[in-house]
Symmetry: C2
Subunit: 361 residues, 2 copies
């Protein structure tokens, strides 16, 4: 990288260390709260967005997806993978990066890591949905699947929903032990968090107000059987998020009220891929806007069939951009040539080469 | 950015200065030759690629597009805009960035500017097509539209096709003067280049072996009228590249043999959007592979209806990656968390925060 002329149009670049630092400055609870506020504000503008289901490439080892969205003022995209076998390379299952552009000019204003940001925004989105779908008196949550995303789910529900009784279950007990260790060390505002490792899904789920499923199982499995679901539960189904990958017994879908992000995508990727194309779902934005009921009765079973939608990355990128600029975190990089004459790209290149030649003298 | 642990999976980042430096090291002719070789090799593997038309968002001021492609080993995407009014902000009409990922893991190996690279690969692609479609004895080219892309087209045809007689025309004479100045200063291997600014398209085209149209006109215009097209000409139509934007009289399409990149995309975006859905076109890769005839007769009119396909950015990114690594150009950045335990993203975050706290002490 090189010194830039004053006309250089610059792009803010946030690497993983920068995003970690932002979280450190803000504190994780404030960060989650800020994300929930941004998500709510953007979901309330739902009709303003030009939306489409993500564009996926499927290969032998996993998927790579592009998730674009625009409101006519900003355009964002995320590039994200899902590779369940990545552990053998020492790499996370899910990794991501993304960008935020101005629609007026097409210029890239922000390039950012989105691995950490995706974990945060997914947890914040789950919390936002639960705020309108879970019973107000919810204080216990079963957390089924204790991988990389589970810490963020646990902390989001503890900080934002008042959950203080967590029951963990994973087919790999060491995963639950890892999660329990992290939660024991986490500094949470207010009351203490009770964390218990369970021997089965049934034990974890019994009597819980909220059940979060976030396993990495491939294929159509039944992480949660209908017989375990009790009246009044809110189900936060995070793990079933691509074609052929579901976590719930379809009988659960038949008796729950199902809330989704963007129906054309969720019908392909979510739990409702198991149901007919006209299976009734409610768009979550309508509940947030007061256009559709959320939870109507204490004994109702509500289900947020979460798959992760491009709007949530738009919100995360906007939040990161605002916070990073306010706190001067990140690096300014040049991905756009700073041309004296916008029509003269070749002339700009010649100027660069002359500059390099002068440096070499 | 911060020092990294040894397990950190890193991404090579090339900004505009890095790509300019690479061109400086290689020299523009060698760079164009290397790109043509990479493009040819990748086009010969055409059936191995999972292809789709680009995904466009249209806003009041322009378009923003994502162009993904994969061969099952690597995955690439480009994000590119087209904003004809950008001059008033001092910004180029077309700007781009992209990434190259491993399909095995989904990890991002290369993040790169693609503004300069798009100009180079578009010119290299035009030259590759002309190598099989233009008459072997071609030495003159009319260049209609003298904006940012035109310098690269002129130099690619001079270096790779033996063009030595260039006739320039633009509705804005100052654009032609700018281009002529740049070409006069360019150091080209071998013979001299004769460059003439013409008063009209007709004057530029008359007797030319090759006609390149690369205007920024919006809408369906007729930059080239059928009456100007002579037997034996090769037409390199670069400017018509999105729905509603064409440069050629449809009568030209009726009498020329039309060669395209990826028919599903070209039928939406290219000159052939003016024709019926079953209008006959030949895929260029078949000509390169020897499966379909290119130019068969000296008096045939050939037309490369170029719109720019994702494979060309894949080739450009692979070429940039190889050259940058060999010459140690670029910066290594961390867009992926370097987790000790791939399942423990939260633990990695805590480690980062402890590291930051230690630095602050």
């Amino acid at each position: 990288m090189q010194a830039h002329a004053s006309r250089q149009p610059r792009t803010l670049f946030l690497d993983t260390h920068d995003v970690a630092r932002l979280i450190g400055i803000l504190g994780l609870p404030a960060c989650l709260r800020g994300l929930v506020d941004t998500l709510r504000a953007d979901y309330l503008r739902w009709p303003e967005f030009d939306k489409e289901a993500r564009i996926a490439a499927y290969t032998a080892q996993g998927t790579i997806e592009l998730m674009p969205i625009t409101d006519g003022t900003h355009y964002s995209f995320k590039c994200v993978n899902g590779h369940p076998g990545n552990g053998r390379y020492g790499l996370p299952t899910v990794m991501a990066m993304g960008a935020l552009l101005d629609c007026d000019t097409g210029m890239i204003r922000l390039l950012s890591e989105l691995t950490l940001s995706t974990a945060l925004r997914t947890a914040a989105m789950s919390a936002l949905a639960a705020q309108v779908l879970a019973r107000r008196d919810s204080h216990s949550m079963a957390l089924i699947g204790n991988g990389a995303q589970s810490d963020f789910q646990a902390l989001a529900f503890a900080c934002l929903l008042g959950v203080r009784d967590l029951r963990l279950y994973d087919v790999d007990r060491s995963a639950s032990e890892r999660l329990a260790r992290n939660l024991a060390a986490a500094e949470l505002p207010g009351r203490a968090l009770s964390v218990r490792i369970c021997e089965s899904t049934a034990q974890a789920v019994r009597g819980a107000d909220i059940v979060t499923t976030v396993t990495a199982f491939q294929g159509q499995t039944r992480v949660l059987d209908d017989s375990l679901v009790e009246p009044g539960m809110h189900l936060n189904a995070v793990g079933g998020d691509c074609p052929g990958k579901t976590e719930l017994d379809p009988d659960i879908l038949r008796r729950a009220d199902v809330f989704v992000e963007f129906p054309p995508q969720t019908r392909k990727e979510g739990e409702v891929q198991q149901m007919a194309a006209d299976f009734p779902v409610t768009e979550l934005w309508r509940v947030l806007a007061g256009d559709a009921p959320g939870r109507a009765r204490a004994d109702q079973v509500t289900l947020f069939d979460s798959v992760g939608f491009a709007l949530e990355d738009y919100s995360a990128l906007r939040f990161l951009q605002a916070q990073a600029q306010a706190r001067q975190v990140g690096t300014w990089v040049d991905v756009t040539p700073g041309q004296a004459d916008p029509r003269d790209l070749y002339g700009w290149l010649q100027g660069e080469l002359q500059g390099l030649a002068a440096l070499a003298l």
